[in-house]
Symmetry: C2
Subunit: 435 residues, 2 copies
């Protein structure tokens, strides 16, 4: 019998002490990254200019469990374990027999799940003597998280922020500066890539692909600097699995187990974090679990992209990854889920979709905001537009249960709050959002 409770807390001692690596459980392992110059599979030494060896080894490992270092755990303790909440208000509003649970990562000081990997990445860099990190940010969630993590470890932090966001989101910029980061609008005059683009168009609004190119150029130029990123790569997804491992313990506390597991997907780290610890239940143990990845129909990588090798950035400087992609030149329309506007997806997640383990859906943003508002009124939390793709999907599953009478347990990831996205809500109410 599922528990009568609503809020499933864990004790500090129940924070996972190891990250879960999904690679050994995959029906087909992801293909290796390809060097953009040699077109050969890259080795650890190819990545050394960009990443510390601790993270490179995590990128290629096939070990199933990776111990979380003590200093990382110490910092997780500031906001973890995060809550698992039974969405009783939403269930009632929908009149569904389904049980809806959400794992809420918005309690992190940076407001989203991104802190889980930012802290780990800052740790491994500092441990190897790096004193400065360069990275990019679109809407600002990742930039905020890495700025915070750098402040914890005393690292300098340079964030290339997509120009359009930099101008429209002064709050995000102020957050990063509060944590001590130097934030530059991208394209910037500080890199060759930025200079080239500015020469062609001094008013370029930038894109995530351009910002990545700038950060990737910045890092190898300086002895003290490495590059870091907030999604797509194996080691990033690995760090996020604390979400799913905690959710698993909390579902046990709820005397329940998910029939459906839902999350939004931009680069894939949020959804992987929640879903991957449950993948062996389906793949190895044959449990009937539906995994659903939700993306915006304005950037439909998993639902309409091609599965092939492609670059991670605009300037074609990153290794080639085998993944679902809309093409590295794809510029998504300016929707309000900045965190989901990426042309590619994590290779491991792409492979699991290709192999039919995970299914994908896409929603237009007005449908997404409609459910975000319904969720806020029923449950309280004002969700991030990104996370609201998962809410929309969970609601549609719960409404299907109302039709069939099926009492499914639906678990979705609420990756962050929307308190830095209120202008988008304002525009939604004013009828200014289009699909």
């Amino acid at each position: 019998m599922p528990s009568e409770s609503t809020h499933f807390t864990l004790d500090e001692s129940q924070i996972p002490t190891a990250w879960f690596n999904v690679i050994p459980s995959m029906p087909t392992p992801p293909s290796p990254p390809i060097h953009p110059g040699t077109k050969q599979p890259i080795g650890p030494h190819d990545l050394a200019p960009l990443f510390p060896m601790g993270l490179i080894l995590q990128e290629v490992t096939t070990d199933e469990w990776i111990e979380i270092p003590g200093p990382v755990l110490d910092l997780y303790r500031r906001y973890r374990p995060t809550p698992l909440i039974r969405a009783r208000g939403l269930e009632k509003a929908l009149g569904t027999p389904a049980r809806i649970y959400y794992k809420y990562e918005g309690v992190s000081p940076a407001g989203s799940h991104k802190a889980n990997t930012a802290i780990a990445q800052a740790y491994y860099n500092q441990a190897e003597g790096v004193s400065r990190l360069a990275s990019e940010t679109g809407a600002g969630q990742w930039g905020s998280a890495i700025a915070m993590a750098c402040s914890f470890f005393g690292l300098e932090c340079r964030v290339y922020m997509v120009r359009a966001s930099y101008d429209q989101r002064p709050g995000r910029r102020a957050m990063m500066q509060t944590w001590g980061a130097a934030v530059w609008p991208s394209p910037s005059p500080d890199t060759a890539v930025g200079q080239k683009i500015l020469a062609e168009d001094p008013n370029s609004p930038g894109s995530l692909g351009i910002a990545i190119s700038e950060a990737v150029e910045d890092a190898p130029k300086r002895e003290d600097t490495k590059y870091c990123l907030g999604s797509v790569l194996n080691h990033v997804l690995l760090h996020q699995t604390v979400i799913g491992l905690e959710a698993r313990a909390q579902m046990e506390k709820a005397d329940d187990f998910p029939d459906v597991i839902i999350g939004c997907v931009g680069g894939g780290s949020n959804y992987a974090g929640l879903a991957y610890p449950f993948i062996p239940d389906k793949v190895r143990d044959g449990k009937q679990i539906r995994f659903i990845a939700a993306e915006p129909s304005a950037c439909p990588t998993l639902t309409e992209g091609t599965f092939e090798y492609d670059f991670g950035d605009t300037a074609q400087t990153t290794p080639l990854l085998e993944m679902f992609t809309l093409g590295h030149g794809f510029i998504p329309p300016p929707i309000h889920s900045g965190g989901l506007r990426y042309h590619g997806d994590a290779p491991s997640l792409s492979r699991l979709v290709k192999d039919g383990v995970i299914e994908a859906v896409a929603y237009p943003q007005t449908k997404v905001f409609e459910s975000a508002v319904q969720f806020a009124r029923a449950e309280g939390i004002i969700p991030a537009p990104e996370s609201s793709h998962a809410i929309r999907t969970a609601m549609d599953e719960a409404l299907a249960c109302r039709e069939t009478g099926r009492e499914s347990a639906i678990l979705f990831g609420l990756s962050g709050h929307g308190l830095l996205d209120l202008s988008a809500y304002d525009r939604y109410f004013a009828g200014d959002l289009i699909d």
Copy 2:
């Protein structure tokens, strides 16, 4: 021996089931409110046009414990218990032998402690057939919380928002609208008070005193409407005691007990919520606890005000309360702690200061922002400017411990996050804040 842990969580079952009423523990009970017309102590019937009887009875009760109704507990479970965190990063940054703990209310969906009483007030109103609430808000914390609570109980909500805030804080307005509230800039043409002020000055920026007058005028005009407020009165402070009751259980879990208890004070509900459950330890049991209330030096009610009967609003329509006051006509300068810009203070808190149980300090805003930034870099959370007054005070206590070597346990209330206040941080970094 104090615990080695950092994050002290409680289980849902440990949410307090009764609120704690400090009145029976006070050395001198607060004097009764006085009717503005008759100048006689007011009775329950005088308050009936404004409040439901359930709340009026709580306003006057001398019972020590008031049972929390089931539906209120059900909604508390969405975000409570809130965390108690040992500020290990801050301790290290300060090099102090003190143990610093903070109770964090920013995990509530509205971002502050205000939800604790908003939910209770919406419940009692709905239980007595009220279908619409009118209230005021300054910076927007209270308006957000009551808007959310009304959405939970299906009540209409009208918020009179101080004009200056309405114009400068579109995010706060969007939050309230997301929860379905109707938000009017105050002074508004919708009330006689508002019309009168607009006739004198069509560009009036408004004040909290004016907004209170408008909401107090709105409520009795309609059969379906009552008034509600977010601080000052006994029943509001009562509902906040879940904070201190939880903190008490969490300090036990930490194998520690506070020597100093600190909170910021605007109307007094946040600090009362944390401190009141510990008052009997000092007053009845003679424990050596220092209670410190922190306020802005721009609105120094407790440190420089007069202890006397005064009105709660500008238009002199509310009952007279015996309290520390700067005068009901006092207009505080436009500092960035909107929630602390009130001319008076709760009668019970004022009395405890008058009787020497609680001491008070005042800080200028640049000192406050300086410590807010230091806290964010050491602990992660970007605090509300209001809450940062408590941080400043806790830091000064901890620095004093560094001098004396005293290993005090310092507990402070972190009443909310500052994610809706990032423009103030921006101005602080730009050097635009003055004291």
